[in-house]
Amino acid sequence: MEVYLILKVVWWLLLGVLLMGLAIMVGMDMGVGTILRWVGRTDSERRVALNIIGPHWDGNQVWFILGGGAIFAAWPIIYATAFSGLYVVMLLLLWSMIVRPLGFEYRSKLQSPAWRNAWDWTLFVSGFVPMLVFGAAIGNALLGFPFHFEWNLMSFYTGSFIALFNPFAILCGLLSVALSVYMGCAMLMIRGDGALYARAKHLLGKSALAALVLFTLGGLWMPFVEGYHIVQSPDPAIAQTALQQEVGRGRGDWLNNFLAQPVLWLIPALAYVGLWLGRQSALRDRSQLAWWLGAVSWIGVIGTVGAAMFPFMMPSTTEPSVSLTVWNASSSERTLLWMLGFTVVFMPLILWYTSWAFWVMRGKVSAADVEADDHAY
């Protein structure tokens, strides 16, 4: 039975890894989409920017798909409750994301400026909106969602669409946008040059500062947010449902884990160090280092939320005792074990060929290359 407990925790950690992978890789491409119209003033500059991430956006997007698939497989009830409860938000996220492949693939297929302009705006929407929603969703998870279950675990969501755009959630959403812009800029610096490089560098500095301020504000807000704590629940190692526990709420509860384990403070520190040093490296034209430090700061930000909430994953505001946790929302032991087997085999393989793809496509992209290549975006 202890195996089951370990599997639940391992999968919770893996969810963190997937969310970080998603934020770093998809966020980078979405950041480029968000700033495309500003970082590239001419059509040729914009094409260079798109072709910098062109070979990778599709592969990167799979982090997002895999994140969704892993939540489905490892925490079916969270996938079900969150995706159905946040129906309108999920649709906006989906609709803004499904125009993105078309933006990349179709934009440069026709010469017309109106056509290209329309796709540039589409790429802005499909970069900005998903990252805003991604951050806001995490912010709302910290606040809790209004849902409850029937006896057979059929879920009911009683909140409104507008309530999801509360000040705290918007703050988190903007933090996520700022970090994605940072990563996009770092990538444009690595493979771009000239005016594109200069503007990316300038924007990177600003987005790093914005992220630092927003993250700090979020932290200062934490003691006033009503968090959650478990009063009593079944043994974490056994199979259970969300109907068997008792949960309490209190202001500042999300700081409990940090107070109990001070070593956890290193995680938010990681975000600060990453952002500050990353900004410094970028200003000194160390763009690859700036990219990696940006990734570190994403790890710090997402890790901070995880550390604060553990073991909660999706708390309920209306019936706190049916809050979904690592212990009561996981799949069965057999499913978690099989999935872990596949992850252990395939994740290193994915990292290996992804790195290879980046290595093959290394080096600066120039406007002349883009013009000459019939396959370019």
């Binding site: 895999l66 995706f83 078309l102 059929m154």
Partner: protein, 524 residues
Amino acid sequence: MIDPLVVELSRWQFAATALYHFLFVPLTLGLSFLLAAMETVYVTTGRTIYREMAQFWGKLFLINFALGVATGLTMEFQFGTNWAFYSSFVGDIFGAPLAIEGLMAFFMESTFVGLMVFGWHRLSKAQHLAVTYLVALGSNLSAVWILVANGFMQDPQGAMFNPDTMRMELASFGELIFNHDAQSKFVHTSIAGFVTAAIFVCGISAYYMLRRQHLAIARRSFRMAALFGVLSSAGVITLGDALGFVGAHAQPSKLVAMEGIWEDEAPPVAFNVAAVPNEVEMRHDYSLQIPYLTSLLVTRSLDQEVPSAEAVIAESKERVRNGIQAVAALQRLQEDAEDSEARAQFEAHQDDLGYGFLVGAYAQDQDPTLATPADIERAARDTVPHMGIVFWSFRVMVASGLFMLAFFILATIYTLRNDVQNKRLFLAFSVLMIPVPFIACEAGWLVAEIGRQPWTVYGILPTWMSVSTHSVSELIFSLAGFVLLYSIFIAIEMYLMIKFIRKGPAPVEELPPDEPAAVPAMAK
């Protein structure tokens, strides 16, 4: 309470978005392998015209691929957004193949498709060829895992209901992935993709030959696709027959609808070539039959029982009554997990739990334990899917399949004789063939999915209960959004596709009209 209109609209939305997604998938599955084949010829023979071919068809591949990726995202979201109870009830089993699909297949396909497009000048010939093969392999591996997931919905193997967690849980991973339905359906579906791509390439090449343009590429492409197509269409029919045979035993109610058998008949049972099913009176208003053939196709014998709608309904009635006992016991177990009497009652009837859920749609307060005999009657009647749709979709699919096989046999003969470019009428006909495989694919999915009704997971979870607890207005909003967005998408896609087909491949040195095109490697 679940609003029946929400169930109806959720079904429409899923059907519309899934069928739409599947307009793009088959071409990806098949064309990726055709691209790999063309490039193989280029790499092994060094003839650059095959590189031009791979690059030209590659461009059309990508226009299609982008929409396949985009609309696939919708499918991943939609289980959670619109089928929440389904997702939490069977996610322990169903989620795994979807996640593994991402890990094993979709990552590979998507990472390498980037290199396939951008890597022509950066990779060696052999490396680029390997990349193209990985794209083809990745997209087809994707199909494996998606169809493993779908196979579970058709024939739920390897899973058990756990009353302590109130959901279905994985009992055997091996049984899940080696599910017969999934295995034969994967091969059937993938090869259907090959057929689609072959018709697509033949049709467009024929268009060029009619206009006497790009002959060097058009003739070679036509020949490769015709050979690819003749093998694939023979394969798709064989596997389709195998799938029908497997499905007949796992899902008698689907079989009954496909074959149009209302009443019990002593074997051998005749085959309905055509029929006008009357759903209300449960008989055919008209039918045209071939004696013995259904027995031969379904049981491979003349004396074994063939199921009928009448028999399916009679059995369901019994199972609904048992299922109500199971639901009642489960409700008691939820209040007191230690209630051993309730547990014994549940264990005695748990195989019919889904049938208990089924009658909830009609029972007072949607509580199966309050079902009246009339409710049970209605629920049992529902276990035979809409015969008209399933029966005719099945015939459309089979007829298209046979028709395409005939087309490819002719195409192969003409192209091997080297005079296809002179068969103007046949070429015009080839262009008109382009929609046929798409119609066949869509019809096939209608058979598979409408034929599974009234279940999302056959015999385990009824469709009405699988939905999310939304309001009607939320569904109208989302459905309207999808219709609007998807209409714009298809208009853009068709516009670009036609534009790039008209534009054709980059000019290459044309062969003199009489010189035969070299026989590609595949033909040897």
